[in-house]
Symmetry: C2
Subunit: 268 residues, 2 copies
């Protein structure tokens, strides 16, 4: 088979990125690794997240990939530079594409960012946005319960609305016109976030932006999959047993088989 696009996430959330990749590059082979034995990354320290990222990358490289997508905002925020300098293949995180889209979308220069504790604590979105738009004023809020809510499938009920209302209320009065969904789980909560923020706030979904960036890099390098009669290969690996990934993953990827193989990655 021709070399694939390798994608890793701490678990299931990165499937929102894979879903977008499949939409814009349906012909490309993809290999997805969900580190389900060590999910979630958003509550862990930078040192630990970086070690996990390296181990995941080494595994994907053993599977013949031409490009790496770090489809986890926490891993992108904390370890992307380290991964890039250790592994000299094209590496795309989910953070820069989202930051770039936000900088392009805002009119007021006031941008909100929501993400996990680790992502927000890293300050990486703020730095990335201000590197592109120095006048930007960025307000960041950690929303730790959004990931378990999304994994529970409680994305449009009264609990989701109440939790979102609490987390997002500090944005009132900040004058933001753009909000970055800085975690791959959050697109599932888009309807409720949109309801609370109001329809005049632009929501930036990193998954969409990242897939566009992957396409653009493949085109620039002339690395898109060569025409051939071979079918498209989609492989899924997980570090815990596959049952929960296959079940919950359906919320993220929609239709299609998520049959996954369990592998040992680092100490997972």
């Amino acid at each position: 088979m021709q070399k694939a696009i390798g994608i890793f996430d701490s678990g299931i959330g990165g499937l929102t990125v894979l879903s977008e990749l499949i939409r814009v590059l349906p012909e490309e082979n993809t290999i997805y690794l969900g580190d389900t034995a060590r999910v979630p990354y958003g509550i862990r320290s930078p040192e630990t997240v970086t070690r996990y990222s390296f181990e995941n990358t080494r595994f994907l490289l053993s599977q013949e990939i031409k490009m790496l997508v770090v489809a986890c905002n926490t891993a992108s925020a904390i370890s992307l530079d380290a991964v890039k300098s250790e592994f000299p293949l094209p590496v795309i995180g989910v953070l820069e594409p989202g930051a770039r889209a936000a900088a392009a979308a805002t009119r007021s220069g006031r941008i909100g960012v929501i993400g996990t504790e680790a992502t927000i604590a890293s300050g990486a979105y703020e730095r990335a946005i201000r590197a592109m738009l120095p006048r930007a004023e960025v307000t960041s809020i950690a929303c730790p319960l959004f990931v378990p809510l999304a994994e529970e499938g409680w994305v449009d009920n009264d609990v989701a609305e109440l939790v979102a209302g609490r987390y997002l209320s500090p944005f009132r009065g900040t004058g933001i016109d753009t909000l970055v969904l800085g975690c791959t789980h959050y697109p599932l909560l888009k309807p409720v976030i949109s309801k609370i923020m109001g329809s005049d706030i632009t929501l930036i979904d990193s998954a969409t932006e990242t897939a566009a960036e992957v396409r653009s890099v493949l085109e620039k390098l002339n690395w898109k999959k060569a025409g051939s009669d071979e079918g498209v290969v989609r492989r899924y690996f997980v570090t815990d047993t596959p049952a929960r990934f296959e079940k919950v993953g359906k919320l993220f990827l929609g239709e299609g088989s998520l049959a996954a193989e369990q592998v040992k990655v680092g100490g997972a």
Copy 2:
């Protein structure tokens, strides 16, 4: 120092058990291991939970312990028998003491159990309760969002009430008179659970029952700490960096220093 009581949990929740241990056995040395680099266990497979339990036990044994407390319901439900047969020291889980207390408390024979996905899926509480009270009718419900709610400190607000109301509503009409809080995080949510279930339902808190069991075993073996002038030793180890443990742990243990040392345990 005299040999300690070793306690492990997937992370922070086991501190509710330690807190009770300190209350009933204030003079005993304690060594607590929180596997914070791999928490939570409640969403992982039985094989993975068992491997993590073995690795945690080996670490605690290296620290000179006389007895092991598996202060995590998921690890107790899934791996206690395996741990006991691998490591022949006194091992106490949090499940049997809770089951025994429930069997003793119920009048109607109808008992409810709440816990993580993995604990409920294991059926271990139902088996333990029916072994003690064959006529018992056990209704079990997984409450995956309770752990993240407790860790966020949202234990007595409108979100906690709404989530608890949703999870617990299937108990209506079952006639249960006793409810087992089958996860070490859940005692933090006791007030809201009690409010929803009503004051005529007896809540069984495994932490209290487990500490009583530890004391009873130490007395039976005549292994209580010998009188001496040495102070009490409390040590805390974690597998991720200590900052979050020390901060969130205060919710669980109340006052006192939680200064923890990071260690490598298995692949954590």
